[in-house]
């Protein structure tokens, strides 16, 4: 138990001094093109990164909720949402059908063997990040109704 407390103390002391950035990874699009995750928020671009899966009910609720306002919000602030599917081979073939079937206009990236999820330390999804110049400026895990408005308020602050 004491060991545990020591570890937690160490983590807190590191976390104060460290700055959260996105790891240097390439993810594939649905058509197999590679996208560097570090390029999506370079040059002051604002990117929302949402880790989701076709089998994750709260993830889909969140993406459904945002999609209601996505066009409207993008007219107000210039940002892009990257919905990173953590589906593995069991469900990955469902991603395209679901994204289109739901009429989502997001950029879809695939994290098939959960490299990004692992390096972000996300034990659970949904995980939603706002990233600017590769720095993670907002992080939220889990979904409850209305969290999408909090997300947009944060995006507006970065404008």
């Amino acid at each position: 138990m004491n060991k545990l407390i020591t570890i937690i103390t160490i983590i807190f002391s590191i976390s104060v001094s460290s700055q959260s950035v996105l790891p240097d990874l390439n993810l594939n699009t649905l058509n197999g093109e590679e996208v560097s995750i570090r390029s999506i928020s370079s040059d002051d671009k604002i990117a929302v990164v949402s880790l989701w899966a076709t089998w994750c009910v709260p993830c889909i609720k969140e993406l459904d909720a945002i999609s209601e306002y996505y066009e409207e919000w993008k007219e107000e602030v210039d940002f892009e949402l990257y919905a990173v599917s953590t589906d593995d081979s069991r469900t990955i073939k469902r991603v395209n059908a679901m994204v289109n079937g739901k009429g989502w206009e997001y950029n879809i990236l695939l994290d098939t063997n959960n490299e990004l999820q692992r390096s972000l330390g996300a034990s659970t999804i949904p995980l939603t990040l706002i990233v600017k110049n590769n720095k993670i400026v907002y992080r939220h895990s889990g979904y409850s109704a209305g969290v999408e408005f909090e997300l947009f308020d944060k995006i507006k602050e970065l404008k």
């Binding site: 593995d88 069991r90 679901m98 330390g121």
Partner: protein, 547 residues
């Protein structure tokens, strides 16, 4: 191990002297339970009634180098239902150093990787399932051009905190043909892979020391259509169960998967066919049949819709790729298909006003029809008419009635073989037929406050008969919520309530959840891989910190 740490330290001292951007990051996850006796469940808590799984991961990146280390502790014991090898242990479980440029990506130490669909090879981690089958060794990925890349792996697989003695080699290649075809709407790529296992046979020449699997795949996207195909063959090997060889014969194995898709805005259809005949590949020839999903090289999850509600995930399917030849049962594998359909009504239509979205899923999985001979050989059909293992039909209807209120209606009709659901031989004990209905409503107040309620019912005449389930969740803000839930098995003689109360707090880099209640015994499934959890009662605490 020590040599390896020295190497890491040496590399660091080399690179810290250069001028590069540094970055330290990581995470800490702790999952603990405090168990208590519960006479209603017939559950006696074990002597060590506090159990805790902990993971600390620290990464350090500098310039083109990155590195990481993961420490795991299972003290005083691992949580109920986890791989017993972990009990009472705490160690540095894995570490790696990686260097990469535009062309090459080299990892030394423990690595994760997947070839194609993962049918032939997948090394991955899932802490909820207690799976970490990473390989310790060397991995090199090289991009010869934009169109052609090669990945090679060599090493030994992790088993608990140890390594299995067998060495694993693998090559995966990917060739994108778009450049050569020059059709604008067409994307075509092909791939081939090889995975081999060398395991000493102590001069027993009847057991092969080398077993290899070969695979090929094709991915095609043409406008709204997609087609993906993968086929694997595996050399003849022994079959085993929980450490014991099951037959004097050697058997080869095959896997086939075909996916077809069509989608446009508002409509998506995807369909999968898969056939697995004696298709298991483990890093130890005697690991087949272990119930903890350990030491796997191949990844053959159940291809059915993953369910999330209290009562919809009572009767879940787990894939049956094994060849079993014994006095109790004879079977050679699994064949079947599933289809998904998603549809969003046009905004201008009547149903579109209420943001109506439909999702339908159908799946059917059965034994491959086979005839078994006296000498333990068998004749097999490609599909045939084997015992049905699982069939389900799902329908989901989502509506948003106004800015504050939305609902989801789910209906599930499932037939599952008793052997698959409850254990024992497959295809001879009869079926469980169940229907489940779920209504969920969410109401949003201002300032991040919201309420969510779920009412559900399960009807079945078999097994434990009918259930009713209720969940209510209140979100005080987008960070804090509390819930109460009950699954009441009122149709059974014991009429047990599986109650739970709890809550979670999530802010910035911290997530904390706490709950108290009864865990229904059964399968916990993530991504089609399931872990058996015995019935228990107690407190669960989960903490996740990211830095």
């Amino acid at each position: 191990m020590n040599r390896f740490l020295l190497l890491i330290v040496f590399l660091f001292s080399l690179i810290t002297t250069s001028q590069n951007t540094e970055n330290i990051f990581g995470s800490f996850e702790s999952n603990s339970q405090l168990l208590q006796d519960d006479s209603a469940l017939n559950f006696t808590s074990p002597e060590d009634n506090f159990r805790s799984n902990n993971y600390l991961q620290i990464n350090y990146d500098i310039g083109k180098f990155s590195s990481g280390i993961q420490y795991e502790s299972y003290l005083p014991n691992a949580m109920l239902g986890y791989y017993p090898e972990y009990n009472g242990k705490n160690e540095i479980a894995s570490y790696f150093v990686n260097v990469k440029n535009e062309k090459a990506d080299l990892t030394l130490g423990y690595f994760y990787e997947q070839f194609g669909n993962g049918l032939i090879f997948r090394a991955w981690e899932n802490r909820q399932l207690g799976i970490n089958n990473s390989i310790k060794g060397i991995k090199l990925n090289y991009n010869f051009s934009d169109s052609f890349s090669l990945t090679t792996i060599y090493g030994q697989q992790r088993n608990g905190f140890e390594l299995n003695e067998a060495t694993i080699q693998g090559i995966d290649s990917n060739l994108n043909l778009n450049k050569f075809l020059k059709f604008e709407e067409l994307d075509l790529s092909i791939g081939a892979s090889y995975v081999g296992r060398y395991q000493d046979n102590s001069t027993n020449n009847l057991i092969p020391a080398n077993v290899k699997a070969l695979g090929a795949r094709l991915d095609l996207y043409y406008g709204r259509f997609s087609l993906n195909f993968e086929a694997i063959t595996k050399d003849a090997d022994i079959i085993s169960n929980e450490g014991v060889i099951q037959s004097n014969k050697l058997y080869d194995g095959t896997a086939l998967q075909l996916d077809l898709g069509y989608s446009k805005k508002g409509l998506g259809i995807s369909s999968t066919f898969r056939r697995l005949e004696n298709f298991n590949f483990y890093s130890d020839r005697l690991a087949e049949g272990n119930i903890y999903n350990q030491q796997t090289l191949s990844y053959t999850p159940a291809l059915t819709k993953q369910q999330d509600y209290l009562l919809t995930n009572i009767y879940v399917y787990s894939s049956q790729p094994r060849l079993v030849v014994n006095a109790l049962e004879n079977r050679s594998g699994e064949v079947g298909s599933q289809t998904d359909f998603y549809y969003t009504f046009n905004k201008k239509s009547f149903l579109g006003k209420y943001k109506t979205k439909i999702a339908v899923n159908f799946s059917y999985w059965a034994a491959i029809e086979s005839d078994f001979n006296q000498d333990e050989s068998y004749d097999v059909e490609f599909i045939g008419n084997g015992n049905r293992y699982y069939r389900d039909f799902n329908f989901e209807l989502k509506n948003r009635w106004n800015k504050r209120f939305n609902t989801t209606l789910t209906m599930l009709d499932v037939i599952i073989d008793k052997g698959v659901a409850l254990g024992g031989p497959l295809g001879v004990q009869g079926d469980i037929k169940a229907k489940v209905g779920v209504i969920e409503g969410t109401y949003r107040y201002d300032n991040g406050k919201s309420s969510r309620a779920v009412i559900q019912h399960l009807w079945t005449k078999q097994d434990k008969k009918n259930w009713v389930g209720l969940v209510y969740e209140y979100n005080f803000s987008t960070s804090l919520n509390l819930f109460i839930a009950d699954g009441w098995n009122y149709g059974s003689t014991d009429k047990i309530h599986y109650y739970n109360v709890g809550g979670s707090y999530s802010k910035n880099n911290t997530r904390l959840s706490l709950n108290y209640g009864r865990q229904r015994g059964g399968l916990i499934c993530v991504g089609g891989v399931c872990r058996y959890v015995p019935e228990n009662t107690g407190i669960n605490l989960n903490l996740n910190l990211v830095f």
